[in-house]
């Protein structure tokens, strides 16, 4: 959802919108890996980017299985059309809510440098060019580094040397949970792609995209007996020698990127079990970050966000039937020790809960249907969530909830045609007309139909 945390300038909103646009194309399917292993996409993906058990092993192995490619490149592009139920913002100024409604829109194109460098070292680097469609001016197209993950991996054999008992490694990445291998975590969670122009709820937790492509994560992980996974990562501002990890981001505008104080811990634990065609994972994760109010001012003071999450994933993978389900719950405690003192929030601390659930069925890896439910619920904070046309809140509440129904068709393994419908029961604290405190707009007016073509090569 949105990465907006508090009232910021129009330019900052625009910068955040650009990050969102990039987030919208952040999901991966990397054909360079298929060329490296000689295997079909279905070996690693239920449907890209959702990973199978083997895909998870491949990623944890540092993307090193297979034969190193001379030119380890891959490409991806998306183009689609968005139709919002009510594209008039209700202010009487004939201002549309989204640009290019019911017209074709470019949803980003990526170039990947991905694969194995040595038997113990590999990764992927994604460069994405995306267009920001504006309702109040000409569109702009911008390139930036997208999700990136490079790994060194080690292996410890069991007593008989017939299996790897412990797979462990180091990861350097630029988006919290982009390194995770279960699709119940945010970075590669559902929806895997979304409309670049649709409007979404204002609130969102830090771990669910607010730091994407802005931080450097340096982590160590281990996967024991294909059962227990543990990871400890420290996140810091991607500056200095890590600045390449946020290449293309707007670092000079207040609110353009996140700036963190020091190293901020992230811990992940998961229990994984595989039996027959089934796999099940129960896990938890936590991250605490101290974030400066103004990324351009190191003396601006910090607020502390503590995210604690639990997640579960179940997969049943056979041929022709595949069923998968994921659920994630994140509770974020927001300590506005600086913002409150400066009058940027109504409360000294807030809580924000985020729930995401989805279930998917695929037939022959070709025809898919997914149903998802999402909900945000948190402390009302009228200063943080003020009234305003479309994106505002009448009661200062961040509460939103709704459903997504998605139909997918893959005529060939690397082309996906998708139809995605997002429906809101509640939006920014309101269930009825006038939820935004400025117009008569209702949550249903933000319902969105998104038709998308996604090609990877």
């Amino acid at each position: 959802m949105s990465c907006l945390r508090k009232p910021v300038s129009t330019r900052a909103r625009a910068a955040c919108g650009l990050v969102l646009a990039l987030c919208g194309t952040a999901a991966q399917a990397v054909p360079a890996y298929a060329r490296q292993t000689g295997q079909n996409c279905v070996a690693c993906h239920v449907s890209f980017p959702e990973l199978t058990a083997y895909g998870r092993w491949f990623k944890l192995s540092g993307y090193t299985i297979g034969e190193r490619q001379t030119v380890p490149l891959a490409m991806m592009a998306q183009v689609g059309s968005t139709q919002i139920k009510n594209n008039d913002d209700g202010t009487g100024t004939d201002t549309p809510v989204t640009a290019r409604d019911r017209q074709l829109a470019f949803n980003g194109a990526s170039l990947f440098l991905a694969g194995k460098a040595t038997d113990d070292f590999g990764g992927f680097v994604q460069w994405t060019v995306a267009t920001e469609y504006k309702t109040d001016g000409p569109s702009t197209t911008h390139g930036a580094l997208d999700n990136t993950d490079v790994r060194w991996v080690g292996r410890m054999a069991g007593p008989t040397a017939d299996d790897i008992r412990l797979l462990y490694g180091l990861t350097l990445h630029n988006n919290p949970t982009a390194q995770d291998v279960w699709n119940s975590t945010p970075a590669f969670g559902f929806p895997f792609t979304a409309s670049p122009t649709a409007v979404g709820p204002t609130a969102g937790t830090q771990i669910e995209g607010a730091l994407a492509q802005q931080v450097a994560g340096i982590g160590v992980y281990g996967f024991y007996d294909k059962t227990w996974y543990a990871e400890l990562t420290g996140y810091r501002t991607a500056d200095g020698i890590f600045s390449v990890l946020r290449t293309g981001q707007d670092i000079s505008t207040p609110g353009g990127v996140a700036r963190l104080k020091g190293y901020n811990p992230y811990l992940r634990l998961a229990y994984n079990r595989e039996w027959g065609p089934n796999s099940l994972m129960f896990g938890g994760f936590g991250m605490t970050v101290d974030r400066y109010l103004d990324n351009t001012d190191p003396d601006s003071g910090t607020d502390r966000f503590s995210d604690r999450g639990i997640d579960v994933q179940y997969q049943y993978v056979t041929n022709p039937h595949t069923f998968t389900a994921q659920a994630r719950f994140v509770r974020e405690h927001q300590d506005y020790k600086t913002s409150f003192a400066q009058g940027a929030t109504s409360n000294s601390s807030d809580t924000l809960d985020s729930l995401q659930m989805k279930a998917t069925y695929y037939y022959e890896h070709q025809y898919g249907v997914t149903l998802s439910h999402f909900a945000l619920k948190g402390t009302a904070d009228p200063t943080l969530y003020p009234a305003g046309a479309v994106t505002g809140s009448a009661n200062g509440s961040p509460d939103s909830r709704g459903y997504i129904l998605e139909l997918d068709y893959l005529p060939v393994q690397n082309v996906r045609l998708m139809l995605q419908y997002t429906a809101y029961n509640k939006f920014n604290g309101g269930s009825d007309s006038g939820y935004d405190g400025a117009t008569g707009r209702s949550p249903h007016d933000n319902n969105t139909l998104f038709l998308n073509v996604w090609i990877a090569y």
């Binding site: 298929a34 292993t37 000689g38 295997q39 079909n40 279905v42 070996a43 058990a53 083997y54 092993w57 491949f58 192995s61 299985i65 297979g66 034969e67 292996r155 054999a157 069991g158 008989t160 040397a161 017939d162 299996d163 790897i164 595989e274 039996w275 027959g276 065609p277 993978v317 056979t318 041929n319």
Partner: protein
């Protein structure tokens, strides 16, 4: 000079050289075989295990169990994947690329490795299906020209040379192979002739039976 003595000495010397050379060749072959076995074990432990499980005992029925499989059958299949002559969709999706990474000596060593592993025990299943499958396996179905599976795969489904071991194999995998062979997606002339008349229920039954062994 005593010519016969010289001739005998020359023969003895030649024989000694030949034995030394033969001994050297044998030693080199043994070293190569040991190196291939080590390479194969590494491939098995780091790559094959991802799908086929530790020691070739997979958990997912998408991937066959290899432990205790017939060596000749395994080597033939790996060469069929590498040569892309085994062409069903799953072979294309999962194995073509993997097999290209293997050279001939590692293929043979991998076959030796998995053939030497202790097979997984059978898995109990639906008793009615197992009973029907047992009849089909042991007696065939003369009305549909289905010969007893045991005649090639062995009374205990242990396999024989190029005829694969079926005992303990995932039922879903066995059914899928029967389907792709029957529809000629997987080239297997002998099996195609044998099972062309077997129906879906028969496939399920015989698969459930061999899985239980």
């Amino acid at each position: 000079m005593n010519k016969p003595l010289v001739r005998r000495a020359a023969v003895v010397a030649l024989a000694a050289c030949s034995m030394l050379a033969a001994g050297g060749a044998t030693s080199a072959q043994e070293k190569n075989a040991v190196a291939a076995d080590q390479a194969a074990q590494k491939v098995a432990a780091t790559i094959c295990t991802s799908c086929h499980g530790p020691s070739g005992i997979s958990t997912s029925p998408l991937f066959p169990r290899l432990a205790g499989q017939q060596e000749l059958y395994l080597a033939a299949q790996l060469r069929a994947f590498k040569g892309r002559t085994r062409g069903e969709q799953d072979a294309h999706d999962y194995m073509w690329g993997m097999a290209t990474l293997l050279d001939e000596t590692v293929i043979d060593a991998l076959a030796r490795y998995y053939a030497a592993q202790k097979p997984a025990p059978g898995t109990p299943g639906n008793a009615v299906l197992i009973a029907r499958g047992k009849i089909l396996f042991e007696q065939g179905d003369p009305a549909h020209e289905v010969v007893p599976c045991a005649s090639c795969h062995g009374n205990a489904a242990q396999g024989n040379a190029i005829f694969p071991r079926l005992a303990g194999q995932h039922a879903a995998y066995v059914v899928r192979q029967l389907q792709v062979i029957q529809r000629q997606f997987r080239d297997s002339p002998i099996m195609h002739g044998v099972i062309k008349e077997i129906d879906a229920d028969g496939m399920k039954a015989v698969a459930e039976y061999v899985q239980s062994l």
